[in-house]
Symmetry: D3
Subunit: 69 residues, 6 copies
């Protein structure tokens, strides 16, 4: 099975909160590894991003997709 | 500064590839911590997600936003 | 009216579930037609995608926008 | 394998265009089936969505994730 | 025509940069009006959001869809 | 602080509705400024977008991220 997504993390579920339509699942990442971001080249230049830079990475929870084997 | 995003990771940039409009930035996560996913309650039930489950987590690179302090 | 989205399907609503803030709408696609995906060239190469390949396509429900004429 | 996504379509790749960073993949849906959208309850009420309604559905290509078995 | 999106702005295109696969379009908002954000209730509480608060709003360019009449 | 997002607006919160998992926050944009959209070059050509065009811009509320200083 191969996926068209750059970021694949292994994790363990720590809590599940089911709402009427949406649910919030929390998990602990057990194998983080390398990640990737795609943004405009303009943004990269404005941020001045280069190897070695320490950054923070934000991801809205809605964009995180769990898969269970 | 506070952000309306559940997932905030600290990372170090490992490579930057600038294309004509979009760029691909890779980084190594240095502090993974807890993460969160929002999905439909229906999907949670179909997956049978519960605490302790080992899962894989997919995130398209386009949804990852770097921030530099 | 012209839209900056590659994927336009015709469909018929089959159910509507209204939650406190979010709602889940299901529909049957009546005219599927051709669809398109944008992903990193790296992912395309890792997947080895080429014409004729049979694939599965995943879309989180949150990224699907209904329009009513 | 189970995925936290409501929309899973079977499709056949018809073309692949690789750019410097991003690529555009087109495919023909071979099994459309039922699909789902999550939106605000406010939007559902403004659209007046109910079973039987004929709608158009828009999805930006960037939100479509191919998976290959 | 009615759309399942909370944010609808009127704008005038100021520049168009076409890349090999993706393009970057800039525009000046001419009628901003009210906007809306959906996030986890947890995030709202962590941010302590309440009427009257002055905030900044971030949107990745990839999530902005132009429509032409 | 620098962000990898093209669109940064200043706004004032007008209402907050907390649901069981997700919340809806409305705000009035106080400084709209220039915005940007990334879409396929194909879509740009199909729409015939060029400087001076008057467009409408749609953004699903889920893609809007508030930040508080």
């Amino acid at each position: 099975m191969k996926y068209g997504a750059r970021n694949k993390l292994r994790a363990k579920v720590t809590s599940v909160k089911k709402g009427d339509v949406m649910a919030l699942v929390k998990f602990q990442v057990t194998e983080p590894g390398e990640m990737a971001s795609v943004l405009t080249t303009e943004s990269v230049e404005e941020l001045g991003l280069k190897p070695g830079d320490e950054i923070q990475v934000f991801i809205k929870a809605i964009h995180v997709m769990p898969v269970k084997e």
